[in-house]
Symmetry: D2
């Protein structure tokens, strides 16, 4: 990782956070990391959109640059000239207030601009942002520092999506191409699951605001929680295969109604990417097709599967508030993208207490994604970043093996529709005492 790794440093104040030096370093490191992630790809791999929910790698790379143009450069310069007048149209994702975007499902039809041209576009934007950062007044830094930091976090989110999107794309190919040929980790048996208890009480949920955050983590507010317990680790492939062997995918009583319909419509009988070859479960990983490791956390499952597994196990999923209370002061350590595994790892830690809360897999919660009481979206088009998705999606917590360590927080709220399986999502159990 070396030079491009982004150091996890928490500045003491907003002033520090938006200092010229820190902004330049963060911007550079994150932009470089995008380049680094795409190094193993062939030109052809940048082009394809393998399903509507995914995007071509080159679209991701251009879109995150468009973001700086739209929300920074167009604002600070009177006559900012984009590299190409139509990029604003084809690389807008969903910001309706900045103009009608190109149809999402058609991103994979655009062979031009070429990959080379997209990198030229990135360079062009980099130069403009650096120029701004180097010459900005302190007042401008205070005003636009938060925008740049949103741009940085935005790019980190798209780095995670790039990984999950090209994984999905490679998995459609009967040749099962590997992204990187990575060594298998040591896999030793995982100890039985234990429960960690938490008291009832009124808790503060949401972010205090002394670090960079998204609007959806605010305002900090109170919630009363009845006493609850969380499992001390993630559910493993071995445990999930027990569910499967017990008829998990064939027993309607274990499933939500929507989930049962989805299972039957799509003929699901295992997590995404799994295939049974002569009685042995295999899965596509970014290192190619491999035998399922029973000690790894199960991943690439929908909310429906997480919920059904929990019901089978006489438990339930946690609420996001429970998760946040439990995370308390746990350090931000785990199997993040910086580790370079691009896959969840078998549990190594044999200590007691909560393990694997960060990294490895996003943990489905039973909380529908909604506004906190008193929530206010950012003004203008940036208000579309989070707020308009607060419907019919479920919150996930903790980050995954494709998330940047400097991107995650205790109060961070990820969200997906309940049928989404292509992210590195997994299961931690909870129960009301």
């Amino acid at each position: 990782m070396d030079a491009t790794t982004v150091k996890k440093t928490t500045p003491n104040s907003a002033t520090d956070r938006y200092s010229r030096e820190r902004l330049i370093n963060r911007f550079k490191a994150i932009r470089d990391f995008s380049d680094q992630l795409t190094e193993p790809l062939e030109i052809e791999d940048f082009v394809v959109q393998a399903m509507e929910n995914t995007s071509p790698t080159k679209w991701h790379l251009a879109h995150v640059s468009w973001f700086y143009e739209t929300f920074l450069l167009d604002k600070v310069y009177d006559n900012y000239q984009s590299l190409h007048p139509q990029y604003a149209y084809i690389f807008n994702s969903y910001y309706l207030q900045t103009g009608e975007p190109h149809t999402r499902s058609k991103r994979g039809l655009l062979t031009r601009p070429t990959v080379r041209e997209v990198f030229e576009f990135r360079d062009y934007v980099n130069k403009e942002v650096f120029k701004f950062l180097e010459n900005a007044t302190e007042e401008q830094l205070r005003e636009y520092g938060p925008v740049i930091e949103i741009g940085n976090n935005h790019e980190q989110q798209h780095q995670e999506l790039m990984i999950t999107d090209f994984k999905y794309m490679f998995a459609q190919n009967p040749l099962c191409p590997a992204y990187k040929d990575l060594k298998l980790p040591d896999s030793k048996d995982v100890p039985p699951l234990n429960w960690v208890a938490f008291d009832e009480g009124i808790y503060q949920i949401g972010n205090k605001g002394d670090e960079f955050t998204y609007d959806n983590e605010h305002p900090r507010h109170r919630e009363f929680l009845e006493a609850f317990e969380l499992s001390d680790r993630l559910i493993t492939n071995r445990e999930f295969m027990e569910f499967m062997e017990d008829g998990g995918y064939e027993r309607s009583e274990l499933w939500l109604d929507d989930g049962w319909a989805t299972v039957n419509e799509n003929e699901w009988d295992s997590p995404l990417y799994w295939t049974n070859k002569e009685g042995q479960w295999h899965y596509y990983t970014l290192s190619g097709l491999r035998e399922v490791d029973p000690n790894e956390p199960v991943t690439h499952i929908s909310y429906y599967e997480a919920d059904a597994y929990a019901r089978w196990a006489d438990a339930r999923l946690a609420t996001e508030a429970e998760w946040e209370v439990a995370a308390a002061d746990l350090p931000y350590k785990g199997n993040f993208v910086e580790e370079g595994h691009y896959h969840p790892r078998p549990l190594q830690d044999r200590s007691s207490g909560l393990k694997q809360m960060y990294g490895d897999v996003w943990e489905w919660t039973k909380s529908a994604y909604d506004a906190y009481p008193g929530y206010e979206p950012l003004p203008g088009a940036l208000g579309e970043y989070n707020g308009k998705f607060m419907c019919s999606q479920y919150v996930l917590r903790g980050g995954s093996c494709a998330t940047s360590e400097t991107h995650i927080r205790k109060t961070y709220r990820n969200f997906f529709y309940p049928d989404a399986r292509w992210q590195f999502n997994g299961i931690r159990l909870a129960r009301t005492v």
Copy 2:
């Protein structure tokens, strides 16, 4: 209404609630009310399923009878003989544990059994249930009283669905047939909207259990609410038309992302059943096509429209806990189905405080339908009644002009998908102070 009207009486205890006399009276009254509701229909009107979410009237009538057969008569008698061996298949709705049901979308293809035969089936079941109730031991009454009461409440729910389903069906007909030719109510202008304030605090939410309830109202538990306000009355057609005139249906920034997609896909520009004739909005009512009365509560809107209206009005929808706290000890009075209007009514009450909390229209809340902490579904197939729908639906509170007065409660949780418009659903605003 006369003889068939069900009296709203709250028995003092479970013993009273499941007394032989009360069970017989309730069962009779509710069964009779179904007959009464269908009197204005022609035979043809019983047959059609106008969309997948609705059912033919004769299917409703038979299904609620099947319910008593399946959950009562089959249990209490060793060799209960149904009137027809295949009715158990064609009149099961979604109880997978009682056997594969007939495909939901094909209910409207079954011209047989005929309407006459369906009423014969009802009579057959009535006789069997009366026979049971007259001869049951006290122990049997204690054991099966709750099941009969679920059956009664179940039939009341289907009475409401019958009304909304045949309304939807008639509305598809260019002839705009009337169900009943009802007099227009007095319509006087509605006073400006006021806000009623509630304090922050820990509240008890859910049912204590001293009355009949569904499993989803349990367990009673604590929730902390930040201080909030509710509008003192429902939003009117006049107010909703102001939203429409202000470009409500054309301004993406007012909408949830899913809502905006739904509006555009379906080309919505007004509530369901509305049509513009020469500049004047009309709607189909169960008395035929009429000019929109600006003083009535707006209805036949989706969650998306309720949410967009609230955003336009600088407010939000209430959570279901807020609604329940506000309802507190309000009496169960309102424009229920027993009034025989089958349509919401302009506000008559000029007193201060909350008005129209019960009846008229179900009030969309911003709460995703989910299990309360510690929730346990009923055992067996009845566990499918509520629990498996706790995903991607939104809770509504308070009952409507199609709900029975004896069916509603403060803790009652109705739920629909956010795009559902054919129920009598409407808007009350809330805000965080």
Copy 3:
């Protein structure tokens, strides 16, 4: 059949054909026959549209009356008053030049007008037509006689559709209701198939015009045919089951590409209405569910299945010209609707030569439905009767057990899309020598 049976008489000339007496008799007989066909139905059975290609019985009954209003009564009377101003909208099928018709797929949503009202509409139209026929001048008879005769033939076509449509509807019902409880015919084994040879040569194809005809049978023109042979009888269920047992539905090489896609998409493994119960094939008939009679002509198959069967049997389907040449002067005898079987019958005739050319089942030809050289559609909206369907459909010849004897002709061209199975369609083989 008695009074209502339409006598097959060929008048000597157009004058005779359109004589007052003949027009009155034909009109009366055909209108009465529609009533007679619907006698066994319950009111509920008139309402349902079981798939988009079918129509409710009451729609058929009203639509054929609308036809006389639109193409006769509206023309001959200056101020003809229809019984209801909106019937012209809801009972138009596809005549775009007479105004936008009600959406085809929504015919089954209209419970009103009721069945009783539809019969009142029929009576109203009957009276008006009789009044016209009794009072028309000779000139009017010459002008409108052909229109009435189109109306009569149109109603006969809809009589056939009514039968196939309510058969389709009943077949969707797990109760398998019978339309009529008809006796099984004698079924004796059918002799081996023989071939009847025809010489090459230039033949006259199409109608001379000395009888009532549709525009699509014109103009009479010449076609050169290479020598060919036709099988002397229809393919039986026994023969078709041999195809099935030989893997007919699983062998891609037997199928047209579109056919193979259709078979797999719909999981066809037998003709429509067939179901295998404990190793024995049964089918739904208008007398209910019965064991398949191996001696009957196979029916309810698509063009794809007819084509695949023929390929399996080292033969092909006939062209429509070949069929017409072969039919030559054969009498119009066969198992038509007047026989009252509503089902094809096992071959009884043991004579040599072509058998079963008329009645029993429509015979799929390999001829795409197209205009004869010099074809001209009727002027005005009646030009939409046939011409606009001359694309992607296939011609069938000979009539079926649901066709009226007085409706069929040697030159008659029926047509359906190649995936249509709900008509009484079957197979006769042909080969080039």
Copy 4:
């Protein structure tokens, strides 16, 4: 074009046709021409499948190589080793008898093999075929010469598809990238349309067999044609715009029923690739977006549009037999792909008689694609080349600006579904005298 241009030489006999030298030359020239066609493309352009009917350029390039492996190399060598064991699966198009092919709609998901690897695959196959051709015995040449010649013709068909497919792909891109920047031709006004008359009579249709042909051109047989006339040239953009201005796309009476449904469903109001900018029609061409040249033959229209135009013009389309009779001994001259225009050209020829019969645009005929009397498909999987598509498609004649001059013949039958617009298809009128 130079070195790679394939000379149009008709060898005197099958022996000459399959001589070693000729086979080597043809194979080399055609393989080289594929390379040449793809030279202007960027790597990204080879990957995308812009709709299900099209294929990625690299798929085309690999598939035509797979063809030689499957139908030649696997047959002539006992242990032929393909370059990659899975290419046989992913590059099979639709030959079910050679094994289940990869899903057609997913060809664009395969970024690997890369473009470089596909060209390596082509080289590998080239070497193997050359090796075979150089060493084959005379007997082998007689046996496999026809297979190689099918392979050559097959590659020529895919060259045409490559052009139309990448045109379709580029046209989806808002940047309107040009394939080649070609000079505009001289465009002078086209003289009024004249009619060329042909006598009634029995004609020989189909191929005599003294040149390479597909099975669908056989057997040569007789057809009787009534007297007819053909327009002496193709319909121009000017003429088609007159149809448009006369409400052509809004007048239901001009359209086949299927066509009218297609027009409305897809909101067609002009040929494919046309767009109206400030009152002026433009179209996407392989040289980018240009103003419509009124003198060019109209192209990129469906059968429905060709048929509607003909009806509007009081004419009809020709049958394929009429076209073939008219083509008689016309020389194979025209605007073929070897000209390098990749677009139809304004008529230059001012002579009388039929013009533009070859090249420019394929001419829709009114003939459904069907087997000639006595037709026999090739044995084995090659029998799937043509026969199984003889359903619901329409025949086109004469080749286009994307067709190779050495590929076309008087008896050549191209075929597409009636809604296909992405090929260079156009209109010649016919009428029955």
